[in-house]
Amino acid sequence: MRLPAFRSVCAAVALTVAGCGGGASAPEPPPAGRATGDTLSGSLAVLAASSLTDAFSEIGDAFRRARPGVELTFDFGPSSGLAAQVLEGAPADVLAAASLAPVTPLVEAGLVESEPQFFAGNLLEIAVEPGNPLGIRALGDLARDDVILVLAAGEVPAGRYADEALARAGVDVSPSSREADVRAVLSKVELGEADAGIVYHTDVVAAGDAVDGVEIPAEDNVVARYPIAALAGSANPATAAAFVDFVLSAPGQRILRAHGFAAP
Amino acid sequence: MTLEARIRLRLGTLDLDVAFDVAGGEVVAVLGPNGAGKTTVLRALAGLVPLDAGHVRLDGRTVEDAAAAIREPAEQRAVGVVFQDYLLFPHLSARDNVAFGLRARGLAKPAARRRAEEWLARVHLGGAAGAKPSALSGGQAQRVALARALATDPALLLLDEPLSALDVEARLSIRRELRVHLDAFDGPCVLVTHDPLEAVTLADRLVILEAGRVTQSGSIREVTSRPRSPWVARLVGLNLYRGRAHGHTVALDTGGALTTAAAAMGEVFLVVHPHAVALHRSRPEGSARNVWCGPVESAEANGDRVHVRVGGPIPVVAEVTPAGAADLRLAAGGDVWVSVKATEVDPYPA
């Protein structure tokens, strides 16, 4: 069973249940630091790419502190999978993807409230075992016979970017596996099943001591630009817009930087 | 070919301790009530249940000896078994069922099938060789089971209630056929049953098994005319008493005394046939030495006779004519006088 789908269903159920009870709450005091004129309450379902897991969880905590009374739920998964759910009519309020490609069909279908805005950038990095025992220094080393390499599947943004970076560097690789999402690539390296994998810089940061990172030079590297958009089908457009603003604002950006994201 | 069986074992609540011998060509019926342990005896002889103590010797050869830790598993014993439900392999034809034992013992498939067909012809089932067990009638299945057991030329033949699964009509014809095959079999044969008719018509000798112990064994005549346990007595329809004889008087274990024409000493059984018991409404005068009074417990019509059960100090079953029963108004109950001639009371050592 696909985890994001399952979680979407739960989110949908939670939304429905919360929506039924939401109307009876007393008006909230106006949120500090924001003059919006309308009170923010109810629940918000945010669909976000897996690589945003740690950063957005922290952003979520900060948002909840700034806006008590908003019930915030996250659904993390591959960007294309999340976009497909929105296309199929899954109820959600905000979508933050790892690339623009999956979001474009939503824009064409009129499913986004306003033009998607880029809020973060993510550079690719090679993840290797702590201590880098195989001495991997560049993309070229990934083609070595003694290196077990895993990449994200070409169907997901991380995979496409990895292929692009390798093409730019003129390196021909034969990966042992193309994982369903970039987090799976990371865990294969963490578990020691793979010697190297191309992941986002933020993944290397999030993994802490479990992996070491090898930088990819700027001329070969691909910057993944992350778009965020409030969705047209949102039951809570004001709150959705507020969340998007928060992500784009200084506090949100600070959190993103701390997790390794670059400027968009 | 002889069988020497000394079987002692405990299985669940059953405590079995039996000893008997069977000569070559002889058919011994182990007869007893349900739960007596008859099937367990058979399974022990077949090697399906180990002995706790004792031994089994076939033709002088020790097949199992608990003390010497010798035990031939079932598949090595040359034993043919006809099971109560026949247990024909449902996925094999009659022919392949009969051929099974031959093939298991190494005979090639074509040769085994030929032998199987010979045996099926012998039990008059030549045409049904290709049929599956589910397509056979009870009588046919029984014959296939017999052929299957005999085809391997066993040294010992065991039959577990061979006729009990058949309806009454099938039983008659199968019994006749079975007798023929048993006569033709020259090894020892043990037949286990709870049906006295089956035992009496198929066996040469009886071994009575009750609650795991042999209470009596001997020829059919012996056992049926001189029962040694209440169960057997009930089976053959005789009144049985046990007591201490001193000359012509026997003091019964249950109280009271009987006079016998023949003299005896020590522990004895006494047998009185129901038709030797006369009933009266008042104390009879006459030559009968045994006269007593007791309450009428029941009166059952049985063909053209009435069996009257009289209780009291010396319980007895009397056989009278319907007219006699009517005359005495036995149906009304009450007390009745019983008289038995001393010449009709037969003592024999216990």
Binding site: R2, E179, A180 | E75, F100, R105, A149
Partner: protein
């Protein structure tokens, strides 16, 4: 007296028809639950693109790999599972209940967790996998053998449970009869026990194979995803969902038809019903 017949029949008839009606209603609901999603699948599939898709290499590779690995997993499960079922059904020993619970564990574990467990045991750093790699150079992750192992892991309980039930239900006196006819234990097992549990065995094998064929979480976690080597059809479908829903639906149906074709060829239906 005449009223009795009428009185007795009326309430009995109403009561008698209520239960079958209720059961039929529930049965219809069950069929709906099973069939409606399939109907939905059929209706949404872009059939016109089927021909083009079937010409693609990766589809052949994924389909062939799925069929080969699932059948290999089935063979492994049968060879290992039947003896295990026999031990569970026939032998008494301390800790038997615990063993049976352990055998059912893969059924209860989420497949991805199963995949992680397999890595912990048989991965390059696994407590079995590491010494094996050092001694023989053999690794299982990222190989087709790894796919077979992952599929066997999740599918084995289905076979064991079904065959064990069949062995328990079987009349053991047939084995006694075979013994008295001179058959060794091995011969008895081969010529009497196995045929008698035939329907259970066939049903168990069908369930086992179906489970292996559809397995996704454990295979991708343990064996990874590489076209031609470890990318089975379910993996291809999942990844295709990221890209093209229509193609994903088509692939699902290709797998469905392939499975039905195999089942029909083997006449599995006739095994499961006597």
């Amino acid at each position: 007296m005449s009223g009795i017949a009428g009185r007795a029949s009326r309430p009995r008839r109403r009561g008698a028809s209520a239960l079958p009606l209720a059961l039929t209603g529930l049965a219809v609901a069950a069929v709906a639950l099973l069939v409606l999603p399939l109907v939905g699948l059929f209706l949404r599939t872009p059939w016109s693109r089927l021909a083009a898709l079937l010409a693609e290499d990766r589809v052949h590779q994924a389909l062939r790999l799925s069929l080969v690995s699932s059948l290999a997993a089935l063979a492994l499960c049968t060879v290992l599972g039947v003896p295990l079922a026999w031990v569970l059904a026939r032998r008494q020993f301390p800790g038997k209940r615990l063993l049976r619970a352990l055998c059912l564990l893969p059924m209860v574990l989420p497949p991805v967790v199963g995949g992680v467990a397999l890595l912990v045991a048989f991965g390059r750093r696994g407590f079995v996998g590491q010494p094996v790699e050092q001694l023989t150079g053999i690794t299982l992750p990222f190989t087709t053998a790894g796919v077979v192992l992952a599929e066997a892991f999740v599918a084995l309980p289905f076979l064991v449970v079904t065959v064990e039930a069949g062995l328990r239900a079987m009349d053991r006196r047939y084995e006694d009869a075979a013994a008295t006819l001179g058959a060794s234990r091995a011969t008895t097992f081969r010529r009497v026990t196995l045929p008698l549990i035939g329907p259970s065995l066939a049903a168990g094998m069908a369930l086992c194979w179906a489970r292996a064929l559809g397995e996704f979480g454990a295979t991708i976690t343990f064996a990874g995803n590489r076209a031609g080597r470890t990318q089975t059809m379910p993996l291809a479908v999942y990844l295709e969902l990221e890209r093209d829903l229509g193609v994903a639906l088509l692939l699902s149906l290709v797998l469905l038809f392939a499975s039905v074709a195999v089942l029909v060829t083997v006449r599995a239906g006739s095994f499961t019903s006597p």
